[in-house]
């Protein structure tokens, strides 16, 4: 068994698997769709086996505290990354101002086979948001206001955006550049129930000139086309703030041959009922990310580097940097010799040799 482990711990194999991992990393550059995950998984598994065998059998590692910590941490990182991929979840969602988070809003869902978080317990209500723009339409800071449960039956206000995600039950919600407007409409059919809802317009200002969407009311046969003419104060040449509360929008409604421009509060009678333009609202696009290993990964990596630093610190203290004495007697202290070896710098025949393997 020990003999097998020693073979598996070979440094030649370490270098070979490292080279293989390098190839896998190069192939994974920019996440090309045609590169399978095994180009990384196979070398990582081989390196993990090699590392585990070396930790068990190699006294150069397991008898040196700092080095042992570093190598165990490397192994820990591989295990944690693998566990993270099995339990992770990623998705996107668009949520309208004034509405609460619902798992039905999630799109582009990707999750590991062992994912089992408490997403059904996540609650927050989307509030208004602002996005600062610099001259030249360069996006600046996003401030997205949300309300989250305060733990005592009430709601607590929070501001998230850019590098400040909303973290609830381990799920991290990141604002994205994907955001826009959503006119709130009430549909009063000739027969049936009155309904109020929103029409999501395409992202703004990315699709400034394509703020259009279409909808067929329930029980109706005629499709309604919407076009939103916005006044947001946008000025490509100077700094401005995208703020739905300060924006106005004229809703152009087309049904059949009919074309009507609606202001907030106005209605239009169509073939199957009456449509009312209640107000202009907004929506924010979030990226959802869940990985229960994040804090452990960070902790393990830091402990590993600390172990390596302790190992080098001890080595450097035992074998000092070469020092030269002042004056005419130029001497160099050799690294690799614990008590130092003073040798004349110029011309003395010197057989320094290599130090023991560090």
């Amino acid at each position: 068994m020990i003999s097998l482990l020693k073979r598996l711990s070979s440094i030649r194999l370490t270098l070979l698997w490292m080279a293989l991992l390098g190839v896998g990393a190069a192939l994974s550059y920019d996440n090309p769709v045609d590169t399978p995950a095994w180009v990384l998984v196979v070398p990582l598994v081989l390196l993990a086996i090699n590392l585990l065998a070396a930790i068990i059998t190699n006294p150069s590692i397991n008898r040196r505290g700092g080095l042992l910590i570093f190598h165990v941490a490397l192994l820990g990182i591989v295990v944690l990354v693998a566990f993270g991929r099995l339990t992770h979840m990623e998705a996107h969602l668009e949520i309208v101002e004034g509405t609460g988070f619902d798992t039905d809003q999630l799109i582009d869902i990707r999750r590991g086979p062992l994912h089992s978080g408490k997403l059904d317990q996540v609650q927050f209500i989307q509030g208004p948001y602002t996005v600062n723009y610099r001259p030249g339409m360069v996006r600046g800071l996003t401030h997205s206001h949300v309300q989250v449960p305060d733990g005592s039956g009430g709601w607590e206000r929070k501001v998230v955006g850019d590098d400040r995600p909303l973290v609830l039950e381990g799920y991290r919600f990141y604002t994205t550049f994907n955001k826009g407007f959503a006119p709130v409409l009430t549909w009063m059919p000739n027969r049936g129930r009155v309904e109020t809802g929103t029409i999501h317009m395409p992202p703004y200002p990315l699709f400034e000139f394509r703020q259009a969407n279409r909808w067929t009311p329930p029980t109706a046969t005629e499709e309604i086309k919407f076009w939103l003419q916005l006044e947001t104060g946008m000025d490509p040449e100077s700094a401005w703030v995208l703020d739905a509360a300060q924006s106005r929008g004229t809703l152009v409604v087309r049904a059949g041959e009919r074309r009507v421009e609606l202001q907030v509060g106005e209605t239009v009678r169509l073939q199957n009922g009456v449509l009312k333009y209640e107000r202009l609202s907004s929506w924010m696009g979030y990226k959802l990310y869940y990985d229960p290993t994040l804090q452990w990964l960070f902790l393990t990596a830091m402990i590993g580097v600390l172990g390596l630093a302790i190992h080098f610190w001890r080595k450097f203290a035992a074998y000092p940097w070469p020092q030269q004495t002042s004056g005419d007697e130029k001497k160099t202290q050799m690294p690799g010799h614990p008590r130092g070896l003073n040798v004349a710098l110029s011309g003395l025949a010197m057989k320094a040799g290599r130090s023991e393997r560090e």
Binding site: I11, T14, L15, M18, A19, L21, G22, A25, A26, S28, Y29, D30, N31, R134, V138, R139, G140, L141, T142, D162, D163, R164, P165, R172, Y174, K287, Y289, L294, L297, F298, A301, M302, G304, V305, L308, A309, F312, F316, Y319, W321, P322, Q323, Q324, G327, D328, K330, T332, M334, P335, A344, L345, S346, G347, M350, A352, G353, R354, S355, R357, E358
Partner: protein, 280 residues
């Protein structure tokens, strides 16, 4: 001419003068009897000029910060200027604390001149600070990354001396330095320090990426390149500690690792519009 340029030009002049005086001093000291005292009177001047260059670059960076409203984190002009500052700072400390390897400065400074000439050819255009760059981990990531590059450069300077000694006409320039076996140890010691700081750079970068873009690793241009650099450095250290690699081969490996790091830092902007393309 914008506010930071006079400081930058003066700093580059200080680095240039340090290079010239160091080369002149080392060339003059190449002769002399074996065991005789070496004239090192030029060394304080070289140290003073490198330190002056560092201080002048601090002024240039401060002027630019005031002018454009953010630190040197975005475009190539400010990244190069910032690297010239941090490389100069680490070089001045190493030059001060490790007198035996001082002649290696004539290898290190010309390497820095690649950056120096490059920055002088660029327009000092203002850059827009991306919203994801307000994160405090950016500072940690960039800060430890600077030490990684600086220690790689120091290792490469010493490795360069080992290789230049193979050229018979240049060997006398470095005859007052320790033998190759000692320089080999020193060069690899710098690379061990580089490994620690590169590991920290990757960790801090991953924390920043998680906060900024909702993922800690995505194999973008810089992430892939810096991971390959870490792997290369780790493999080279394993090989150096396990096998009896000839000293000059080890020196070539160190230079190769530095060139890779250099390409990671400064080559990526050729094919990536921002430090992490597409995610700002």
């Amino acid at each position: 001419m914008v506010a930071e340029q006079p400081w930058l030009y003066t700093a580059m002049a200080a680095y240039a003068l340090a290079t010239v005086i160091a080369i002149r001093g080392i060339v003059r000291a190449r002769g002399g009897a074996v065991g005789a005292a070496v004239n090192r009177s030029y060394e304080p001047l070289v140290l003073g000029l490198i330190s002056a260059g560092v201080i002048l670059l601090v002024m240039a960076l401060t002027e630019r910060w005031i002018r454009i409203g953010h630190g040197p984190f975005v475009n190539l002009f400010e990244l190069l200027m910032s690297q010239l500052f941090s490389l100069g700072l680490v070089l001045s400390v190493v030059y001060w604390r490790l007198p035996v390897i001082r002649p290696a400065v004539i290898v290190v400074l010309p390497m820095m001149w690649v950056l120096g000439i490059w920055v002088l050819l660029l327009e000092p255009t203002a850059s827009a600070f991306p919203p994801t760059y307000y994160n405090k981990w950016l500072w940690v990531h960039v800060g430890v990354g600077k030490f990684f590059l600086a220690f790689s450069l120091m290792g490469s300077g010493v490795a360069g001396v080992i290789l230049l000694r193979k050229i018979s006409r240049l060997a006398p320039l470095f005859r007052h330095m320790p033998p190759d076996s000692v320089l080999d140890h020193v060069a690899w010691r710098f690379m061990l320090l580089a490994l620690i700081f590169e590991s920290l750079m990757l960790i801090a970068g991953a924390v920043w990426a998680q906060d900024a873009w909702g993922r800690y690793w995505a194999w973008d241009a810089l992430e892939t390149s810096s991971f390959l650099n870490w792997l290369l450095l780790g493999a080279a250290i394993h090989a150096r500690l396990t096998y009896r690699i000839p000293i000059h081969i080890g020196a070539i490996a160190i230079l190769g690792i530095f060139v890779f790091a250099f390409m990671t830092y400064f080559g990526t902007p050729f094919f990536s519009e921002a430090a992490h393309k597409g995610v700002i």
